[in-house]
């Protein structure tokens, strides 16, 4: 598995200018979002402090970058399937999930992740994160759960490739929808929040993590955790049941 990540890294490093440009562009983007939140936070009143907002932004950045690391691989996997090139995957002596998650991953996103975290922490002075060890451990856990929520969404919708047998723009839809995660949860009414958490848990990822740290709202987190667990199980089952029907020809 680590061999694959290493190979992916090497294949990215081979096109050095491409890699540097990619990293720089992502850096500019997250920096602009940071400034955007800085500006917006000066207009916002009512129960949302600046540090809470920045914690949310940091959680959002971490989750979206880790998800991007995997999503390139998931996209590539299903592209192979839809072209009818999926059969060689079955010969390999490794679980299919590893192939799905790591075969064509993009380690450059992890590099951006480290840089982005450092920039945000310096810019926003996030001492709140290291306030208590239990809080930061829960924060880390909530990030992992958030990543799982996104990945289960991706797998669930890409699994429809087995039925439709053609390329689906799931990655595009996901990247547009996941931008919802930067809207703080207190902006929605309670019913909408409940609805969102149960239907699309990935949309509230960042706020849940920020709530765990800023307001120590553990109840919301456990609700989130249970629902994400349920979603992940559902996506695995969907993948397996639909994969059995697939004839492997592609469209």
């Amino acid at each position: 598995m680590f061999r694959w990540i290493w190979n992916c890294l090497q294949s990215e490093v081979r096109y050095l200018f491409n890699l540097t440009g990619h990293v720089a562009a992502l850096g500019v983007f997250y920096f602009c979002q940071l400034v955007f939140f800085d500006v917006v936070s000066s207009f916002l009143g009512g129960g949302i402090s600046k540090s809470w907002l920045f914690t949310m932004l940091l959680s959002y950045i971490v989750v979206s970058l880790v998800v991007n690391f995997f999503s390139a691989s998931i996209e590539g996997f299903f592209q192979h399937l839809s072209r009818g090139l999926g059969d060689p995957f079955l010969v390999k002596p490794v679980p299919i999930w590893w192939l799905l998650l790591f075969r064509q991953c993009k380690p450059s996103y992890l590099f951006v992740l480290v840089c982005g975290c450092i920039i945000v922490c310096i810019y926003a002075d996030l001492a709140i994160l290291i306030h208590s060890p239990a809080g930061s451990a829960l924060w880390g856990l909530s990030l992992v759960v958030g990543v799982v929520a996104n990945l289960s969404f991706l797998t669930m919708f890409y699994s429809l490739t087995f039925l439709t047998q053609r390329d689906m723009p799931v990655d595009y839809i996901h990247s547009e929808l996941s931008a919802f995660a930067i809207v703080p949860v207190p902006f929605f009414s309670t019913t909408v929040t409940k609805l969102l958490i149960s239907a699309f848990p990935m949309l509230v990822t960042a706020s849940v993590s920020a709530n765990v740290v800023g307001k120590s709202d553990v109840a919301l987190f456990f609700e989130f955790f249970c629902i994400v667990f349920f979603h992940a199980c559902a996506s695995v089952m969907l993948f397996r049941s639909l994969a059995r029907r697939f004839d492997g020809l592609g469209g």
Partner: protein, 261 residues
């Protein structure tokens, strides 16, 4: 190139977008509305200090700005253009297109305009909305004129960005650069007046603002000085990008091996 040839290329581009219905639906309903709803949710909670309100935008004007800017963001989208050119270059196919009786730039321009024909609808709806509900004719007409200019500039920008593919070989960096610049530096995230002072010059004079933020600003607050500023910037950046494209094509013609990578 004859007008008939150009028309057939435009038609081909239009049909290629029209046939891909699933993508079209996603583009119109998710990619345009989601960012708008996000901005709506964020700004609906905003509390403005009194003196700030007079200086910049009122809340309804902010909504209007975002509606126009996000519709423009979908119209002026050079993603397909860059993906196509870089595909030609990195697969070593570009010679096949050089032998066409059409110059490569005009070929791409015709396809680009054909592809974006359908996306004129959302900005047009926004302009009609402004005329009917605000009675603001000058802003709407100016907006529609600037729309055409911004489309030309967007093509030049996309073409210039795509020229870098000779250097980077793979298109990832260029595609993400394109998407990021058009969403972050163009004013689709924040109106120019809202950025902090030290970022103002970079946000005001970059070419991406002309493609998206500029026409939207004119729609919201039409004024003579803004029109002059935008027009002179269009001329400046248009000339600069044209020169850049021609120099690159001269250099590349000598150095490029044509084997692909």
């Amino acid at each position: 190139m004859s007008a008939k040839g150009a028309m057939s290329l435009v038609k081909a581009g239009f049909l290629s977008v029209y046939c891909d219905r699933s993508m079209l639906v996603v583009d119109f309903f998710i990619a345009t509305s989601v960012p708008f709803i996000i901005q709506l949710l964020i700004w609906s909670r905003a509390v403005f200090p009194e003196n700030e309100l007079q200086k910049t935008y009122a809340l309804s004007e902010i909504y209007l700005y975002y509606a126009a800017a996000l519709a423009l963001n979908r119209l002026n989208n050079a993603y397909d253009l860059i993906a196509r050119i870089s595909g030609h270059v990195s697969h070593g196919l570009i010679e096949c297109f050089q032998v066409k009786p059409v110059s490569y730039m005009l070929y791409n321009a015709a396809l680009f305009f054909g592809e974006s024909l359908l996306y004129y609808v959302p900005p047009f709806i926004v302009a009609v909305f402004v005329v009917f509900y605000k009675g603001e004719v000058v802003g709407a007409v100016g907006f529609l004129c600037l729309l055409l200019l911004s489309q030309v500039l967007c093509f030049l920008l996309g073409y210039a960005i795509a020229a870098f593919v000779y250097w980077t070989v793979k298109p990832d960096a260029l595609l993400s650069l394109n998407v990021i610049m058009f969403s972050a530096a163009s004013g689709a995230l924040l109106p120019v007046a809202f950025w902090p002072g030290w970022l103002q010059p970079a946000m005001r004079y970059n070419p991406f603002r002309l493609a998206i933020g500029g026409p939207a600003e004119f729609l919201v607050k039409p004024s003579m000085s803004l029109a002059l500023e935008l027009l002179s910037l269009y001329v400046y950046w248009g000339a600069a990008l044209l020169i850049c494209v021609f120099v690159v094509s001269k250099v590349v013609r000598v150095k490029y091996a044509g084997a692909g990578g």
